[in-house]
């Protein structure tokens, strides 16, 4: 069946901000979908609030709406664009939920929009557990398909009743949440109250499923694809190394399945196909999860996602079968046999990929960012990213994957005392992020596969493979000499030069030298979907220590682009955006582009993004080998390290030392910017001030610095990423506490102590420098004060309170820094404007997190231009070519330019402390956000309101606002709170705050902070005592029992907005306990929660804008036209502030 001709335009919904459980895999799938639909000649309309995505680049759709993914906003887009069809199966749960809401609200009918991919009926059958269970049980009897025994509950009493039947432990799964939010395992009644209670609250339908425990069973997943002619194929089987009980997103997973016979696999396949047919997913991909009892093979179907999922992205990368692309094609009417397999070009997509390699995915966690969080792994996903590796066997793939994590503790090590067997066996019983390493440690002290299987439930096959690695390590260590055979065996099973070096007490570079001298180098094999049955056209490579390499020779000069590795907090999709752009721009400029990365969620690791793809760890060893292989294949112009964040930047010097040509800013210049002393000289030379600072290796030293620069001070370890370990301290006591906790302080690793600029305006700048000229990409003003990590701070572009003179100073200073450091390419500078002094906080000679935001807000492809500059093209030339505007820059936007507001999205709802409380939600100098959204509109208020709606949910326009301010903020709150009262809001406040408001003529109802009295929930016992009790002379809230606490009111949905700035000072790593329960309740209930006074002022502007009238939507393409048109007209009359 050819493509449907009744569809001319398609609305694609993206997945919004990156959050845990829904990350850049949906950028990958959405980008593929947009590309496919456009190449089919369809008009593509896209809605996605996330500016860091590649899909929201104006060139990927005809009309790109960076607007909140809420039914209200998407309806506006539909009304404006009138698409024929809506494709919502590629934007994760967010898109699917939005589509369901639009359908149920009658919007799709009203505008005659057809939902393609999966119907509402199919979505509900697949996602509603009761109907899904019915689907599975109705399958042919000979398949013996069943689901785990379970009960649907809508209340706690339902839950208690169900447990009588099922027995403990039970799994709790809330309906319609993503990434397993609110799910968990209850071992007893108190667990049940806690987990099911939270689950009922988290579920939009107040529904949880209680399920018999299949803890410890083998877990599998099949990726299924169906077309409108009912052709169905299984794209990939995935087996989890961690057995049931750990969310699949947090599990180490392996493709293909390793421990199934054909009979079991085919039965699973039959059931999967039966399920997709019965659920009625007409076209597209879905994934189905299974559990198998290792004792007798009893198989149960766990769940299905009637959409493209995180696993689909993994399966696409693991097999070379582009699930999202094919899903988009079948959605518009093609059948699988009509779609060619890109990789072979001559065979169709109606087949099942077969692998002649093993793929291992490992999750990356961020528990170090949330010290209070419980690191136990459960059915509730907590990882923030993942790395994938491909090898010719499991051991090779696993070891490569572990070193791809770039976490020093991830790869196996054989040094040091592993501890006792009994202790280790005990510690591996509960899954946590470091378990695999401990399993290996247990092997080192003699644990048997049986003991380890008993303790962990990990399949003996995998454990035996670990034993193989351990035996090999033992042989490498014990051998009198490192023979070529032994070294070859070690490499064949994935041990790195560093690991071999550790075992032999040799430096990694010595091992590398020996290895090269012996001619032991990896070869590069190809991912080809067909195990070499047909020739592959797409050079998608992975390394292996095998015989024959498949890297084809080439004549054009190649540029290698090093990607950013697994997503983590502080280094995510934004860097992939820059890498992909560089690849596109350099490809256009005639280079052969070669991408090196190990993150399966990304667009950069799509086989058709670059001319060649190496799916490899980003370690020195692995990158050097790729460089070598490409140098054998043809000329190499250089390696790009500036665009993938800290990961490739950290390799720059070592690569250069090995003679690898680094393009753009030199490693020496990078060092100049990163080294405090040298950078201080650059600043001094240019006459630019920095906050006073010093370094210390002890408390006494730190105190001396603090005394001389004055409190408050910002303290941090010397080399940091994403603000790791950064804190603001206000007194000696807190400083002592910090130094006490910073265990790694040493002369090599001093602590930096900086004067912290209170009340400063923080400014972020992205710029390009070619050695001659500077192009100021954009100037962003943070909405929160300095001291909140720039990644967590909301910001506005153009800057809201800076005048033309200040922007000119910023431009001049940035150019001076760029020149002084020797930047060729991108530069990010952070400034603090305090008083009238523009302090330089730091400079990073690389692509920053904000590059995609700036590019979209100013309609200039900064990363593309940067890639060209790095390869030697001048800014003047790029202006002539039109890649950069012919005049003006991001600091001189015309008055008609939109205001763009970036807002960070935090993962606080994902984490619980060991005793089950939420982790605190206060922002600080350590970055903790996972993603961001952009609000874009003509005015700041509307843009801010959109950003809030996209990030957290819409700002309220009526109702109750709760205000509780720290003393230092009370003066600044009066104006905005008064305005809220004038706008008709009812103000609730704690007594201290209320008193200040009353004195300023604002009526406020006093409410106590006291938590629920029942005693089951968290009790906040740390607030100022006088605020704990209802004051006798304060009026009670109407309809509320006297003294209802604010926490209870928030939980009851009685409060529309919470404003709570943290009291007191940072007292070390423990969360400030004031207001903790309030903020937690707000997060749990999805009530907007503002924690800074500046945020409050911005919110008030947002609310005013919402009240002022209809908020419209406008595409980026439309904005760009108006900016470009006006740039020429009024470049001279530059924007000079409100």
């Amino acid at each position: 069946m050819p493509r449907r001709d009744d569809i001319q335009s398609v609305l694609v919904i993206g997945s919004g901000p990156i959050v845990i459980g829904q990350a850049c895999e949906f950028d990958y799938s959405g980008t593929q979908a947009c590309r496919v639909l456009r190449s089919e000649g369809l008009r593509v309309v896209l809605v996605n609030s996330n500016p860091a995505t590649i899909m929201t680049d104006p060139e990927f759709a005809d009309a790109t709406y960076v607007e909140p993914i809420t039914p209200e906003f998407v309806e506006k887009v539909i009304a404006k664009e009138r698409p024929d069809a809506l494709l919502a199966t590629l934007g994760g749960q967010t898109a699917l939920n939005c589509a369901v809401a639009l359908a149920e609200g009658g919007v799709l009918d009203k505008y005659d929009v057809e939902l393609i991919g999966a119907s509402i009926d199919a979505i509900q059958k697949g996602e509603n557990r009761e109907s899904f269970k019915a689907v599975v049980e109705a399958l042919p009897a000979e398949w013996a398909a069943e689901v785990a025994r379970s009960a649907i509950c809508h209340s706690m009493s339902d839950c208690l009743e169900a447990v009588d039947e099922l027995g403990y432990p039970v799994v709790v799964r809330p309906s319609y949440t993503m990434g397993g939010v609110g799910s968990g395992m209850a071992y007893d009644e108190s667990d049940l109250y806690r987990i099911a209670g939270a689950g009922l609250a988290a579920s939009p339908t107040t529904e949880v499923l209680l399920e018999e425990s299949i803890l410890g069973w083998k877990e599998y997943e099949l990726e299924v694809m169906r077309d409108c002619a009912d052709n169905v194929v299984i794209v990939c089987s995935i087996e989890n190394l961690d057995p049931m009980g750990v969310h699949t997103g947090d599990s180490i997973t392996v493709a293909p399945a390793m421990t199934l016979t054909d009979r079991e696999y085919q039965r699973m396949r039959d059931v999967a196909i039966g399920v997709i047919r019965a659920v009625g997913v007409d076209t597209g991909g879905c994934n189905i999860q299974f559990a198998v009892d290792p004792a007798d093979g009893r198989m149960v179907v766990i769940e299905m996602n009637p959409r493209v999922s995180r696993s689909s992205a993994l399966a696409s990368k693991a097999t070379g079968f582009p699930i999202a692309k094919i899903a988009a094609k079948v959605a518009i009417g093609y059948t699988l046999d009509e779609i060619p397999n890109d990789i072979t070009a001559e065979t169709p997509a109606s087949f099942e990929p077969t692998l002649d390699y093993v793929v291992v995915k490992v999750p990356r966690f961020a528990f170090e960012k949330f010290p209070a969080a419980d690191p136990k792994l459960t059915t509730h996903m907590k990882s923030v990213g993942e790395a994938m590796a491909i090898g010719r066997n499991f051991t090779e793939a696993l070891n490569k994957a572990l070193r791809s994590l770039e976490s020093p503790d991830a790869p196996f090590g054989w040094r040091g005392d592993p501890g006792t067997l009994d202790d280790l066996l005990e510690r591996i019983r509960i899954p946590h992020d470091g378990r695999l390493r401990l399993v290996m440690d247990a092997m080192r002290v003699g644990a048997t596969v049986e003991q380890l299987h008993e303790a962990t439930g990990i399949d003996p096959w995998f454990l035996d493979q670990l034993a193989l690695i351990n035996e090999l390590a033992g042989a490498v260590r014990a051998a009198p000499a490192l023979t070529p055979e032994l070294l070859r065996a070690a490499k064949r099973h994935g041990l790195s030069d560093a690991q071999v070096g550790q075992l032999r007490e040799l430096r990694p570079d010595v091992v590398r030298g020996v290895r090269h001298a012996l001619g032991i180098r990896p070869v590069y094999k190809t991912v080809d979907t067909c195990a070499a049955e047909f020739a592959a056209r797409t050079p998608y490579h992975y390394s292996s220590y095998d015989e024959e390499t498949e890297v084809p020779p080439r004549s054009r000069p190649a540029v290698l682009i090093l990607g950013s590795g697994p997503n983590r907090i502080g280094q995510g999709i934004e860097f992939d955006y820059s890498c992909v752009h560089a690849s596109l721009a350099l490809g256009d400029a005639g280079y052969e582009t070669v991408m090196v990365n190990c993150n399966p969620e990304t667009v950069s690791t799509d086989y058709d993004t670059s001319d060649r793809l190496y799916f490899e760890p980003l370690t020195l060893e692995d990158v050097l080998e790729v460089v070598h292989a490409e140098q054998q294949a043809g000329p190499v112009a250089g390696v790009v390290v500036q665009l993938g964040g800290q990961t490739p930047l950290g390799l720059a010097q070592s690569l250069a030392d090995e003679g690898v040509p680094i393009v753009g800013t030199t490693p020496r210049a990078i060092h100049l910017a990163e080294d405090r002393g040298s950078f201080g000289e650059v600043l001094a030379e240019a006459g630019l001030p920095a906050p006073k600072h010093g370094t210390a290796t002890s408390f006494e030293g730190a105190k001396r610095v603090a005394d001389s620069v004055g409190y408050p001070v910002l303290v941090r370890p010397s080399y940091v990423l994403g603000g790791r370990g950064m804190e603001i301290v206000y007194d000696d006591e807190a400083l002592a506490s910090y130094i006490g906790r910073a265990t790694q302080v040493s002369p090599e690793h001093p602590v930096l102590v900086d004067r912290f600029l209170d009340d400063a305006v923080e400014i972020d700048v992205d710029a390009l420098f070619d050695g001659e000229q500077l192009y100021l990409g954009g100037v962003m003003e943070h909405i929160e004060e300095a001291g909140i990590h720039s990644g967590d701070s909301a910001c506005a572009l153009p800057p809201m309170t800076l005048g033309r003179e200040e922007i000119d100073r910023i431009r001049t200073s940035t150019e001076a820094i760029a020149r002084g450091v020797g930047v060729r390419g991108l530069l990010n500078v952070q400034y603090a404007l305090s008083g009238d002094v523009l302090y330089v906080l730091e400079a990073n000679p690389r692509a920053s997190r904000t590059v995609p935001f700036v590019s979209k807000a100013t309609a200039v492809p900064l990363a593309k231009a940067a890639a060209r500059v790095m390869l030697g093209t001048s800014i003047a030339q790029l202006r002539r070519e039109g890649l950069l505007p012919d005049q003006g820059d991001g600091g001189s936007l015309p008055p008609s330019a939109p205001i763009a507001v970036k807002e960070a999205v935090m993962p606080f709802n994902r984490f619980r402390t060991v005793d089950g409380r939420s982790v605190d939600t206060v922002l600080g100098p350590e970055m903790r956000s996972t993603g961001e959204v952009m609000g874009i509109d003509a005015g700041f208020g509307t843009a801010f309101a959109k950003a809030q709606a996209g990030a957290f949910g819409p700002l309220p326009t009526t109702g109750r606002v709760f205000v509780s301010m720290a003393n230092r903020d009370k003066r600044h709150m009066i104006f905005p709170v008064k305005r809220l009262a004038d706008l008709g809001f009812e103000i609730l406040a704690t007594s201290g705050t209320a008193a200040v408001l009353r004195r300023n003529g604002v009526a406020a109802t006093v409410v106590p902070k006291l938590s629920e009295r029942a005693g089951r929930g968290p009790v906040d016992d740390s607030t100022e005592s006088h605020e704990l009790l209802p004051a006798a002379d304060e009026p009670d809230l109407e309809g509320q029992p006297r003294g209802s606490s604010i926490v209870a009111l928030i939980r009851g949905g009685e409060v529309g907005l919470v404003v709570n700035t943290p009291h007191g000072t940072t007292a070390g790593g423990s969360p400030r306990l004031d207001g903790y329960a309030i903020r937690s309740a707000a997060v749990a209930r999805n009530v907007p929660c503002i924690t800074t006074v500046q945020g409050l002022a911005a919110a008030v502007q947002g609310i005013e804008a919402l009240l002022a009238g209809e908020v419209g939507v406008r595409s980026l393409q439309d904005w760009a036209t108006s900016v470009r048109g006006n740039r020429a007209v009024d470049a001279v009359d530059a924007w000079t502030g409100p």
Partner: protein, 377 residues
């Protein structure tokens, strides 16, 4: 890691050699090199009689993960002439596993080699075509082994049915009440085929390849089935003659794999040797009758040549038994994967609807056969 296994060597008839370690029995073997791309089902593959005199290269790197069990074998013994794998599993894991694959190969005297760059070997066979191969774990003398390889008989022209067929006829009873009786000519039949028939109430009488039309008629069977099997279809005139007898009597006929090739020859079509064959469980085949695509299990080195090529059309060809048409085509390379007579109750497929190993997408063909026997269109 380098275990305690003796060194082994593999040599192809064009001289390319690979070094590895002994896997299974120690010894020397020669055969035709073929690669199989299935990721599951090595036990079924090893015991499939169609692999007689072939050395099978497994493209999936880990082999032996689920050991060897007592249920999944497709015949009484391992038939492959040799086995090439990359990473044999030291320890199997499956609740049904009874012994390791290495032990099973040793017990059945099957010579194998591990630690080989199986992908390089597969690419070589893909580019150069199927060829003879030798494995030795008694000597690593490449030249001596090469001489032995070049002295081995080629697959073209080989009549092998006699080496794999049953000596005595036997009966596989129907599950439940008997609906129909089928005479199945064993040219290398797999256990799963009569099982699939039995599931549909068919009692299968498995007959030796040397059986005559009288033997078949004596049974009073409702239909005749020709199985899969090894060798060159053009080297089996007796069986082709037998099939013509069946067709002349208008007995309902169904053939699988080798049975499909013999059906083609009985209709007067030629058969030819594919460059490197189809061996895997992921092959897309379109049923030209319904337009549906099936993912199918393949194991064939020969195929039927449709007169004048252009198989994927509705064109019919006239035969001694009326009009014939192509019913199934492989979407990868347009190879004929199924034939049917329009004027007589007979059809066949080149691939394996009985699966084992492989997907069950084509099980409907057994229903087609029972329909044919019961006179339904």
């Amino acid at each position: 890691m380098s275990g305690g296994n003796p060194a082994a060597v593999l040599v192809l008839e064009d001289g390319r050699a690979f070094h590895g370690e002994a896997f299974g029995a120690i010894g020397q073997t020669v055969g035709e090199a073929v690669f199989s791309t299935g990721m599951t089902g090595y036990q079924e593959t090893l015991t499939d009689p169609s692999y007689r005199r072939q050395v099978v290269v497994m493209t999936a790197p880990h082999i032996g993960n689920t050991g060897v069990n007592d249920e999944d074998a497709e015949s009484e013994r391992i038939w492959v002439a040799g086995y090439v794998v990359r990473d044999p599993s030291p320890r199997p894991s499956s609740w049904r596993s009874r012994r390791t694959l290495g032990d099973e190969l040793r017990d059945q005297q099957v010579v194998g080699i591990s630690g080989v760059d199986t992908r390089a070997l597969t690419r070589h066979l893909r580019d150069r075509g199927a060829m003879r191969i030798g494995i030795s774990s008694v000597s690593t003398d490449v030249d001596a082994l090469l001489a032995a390889v070049r002295a081995a008989p080629a697959m073209s022209g080989a009549a092998l049915a006699g080496e794999v067929t049953t000596g005595e006829r036997y009966v596989v009873p129907a599950h439940g009440p008997r609906r129909l009786t089928v005479a199945a000519l064993d040219l290398g039949i797999k256990t799963m085929t009569p099982y699939r028939l039995a599931e549909r109430g068919v009692e299968t009488h498995v007959l030796p390849a040397t059986s005559s039309i009288a033997d078949i008629e004596e049974l009073g069977a409702d239909g005749v089935f020709f199985s899969n099997g090894p060798g060159d279809p053009s080297a089996n005139p007796h069986v082709v003659g037998l099939l013509r007898d069946v067709l002349e009597r208008r007995l309902p006929f169904f053939g699988i794999c080798f049975g499909n090739q013999l059906f083609g020859r009985a209709l007067g079509f030629e058969t030819y040797k594919l460059k490197y064959g189809h061996r895997g469980i992921n092959q897309p085949v379109v049923d030209l009758t319904t337009g549906r695509v099936e993912v199918t299990a393949h194991n064939h080195g020969f195929a039927v040549a449709w007169p004048g090529g252009g198989a994927s059309t509705d064109a019919t060809a006239d035969t001694d038994f009326g009009r014939a048409r192509v019913t199934h085509v492989c979407l990868n390379d347009d190879v004929v994967e199924g034939l049917a007579l329009l004027d007589a109750p007979a059809f066949s497929v080149q691939y394996h609807p009985e699966a084992a190993a492989g997907p069950h997408d084509s099980a409907y063909l057994f229903d087609r056969f029972t329909d044919l026997m019961e006179g339904r269109p």
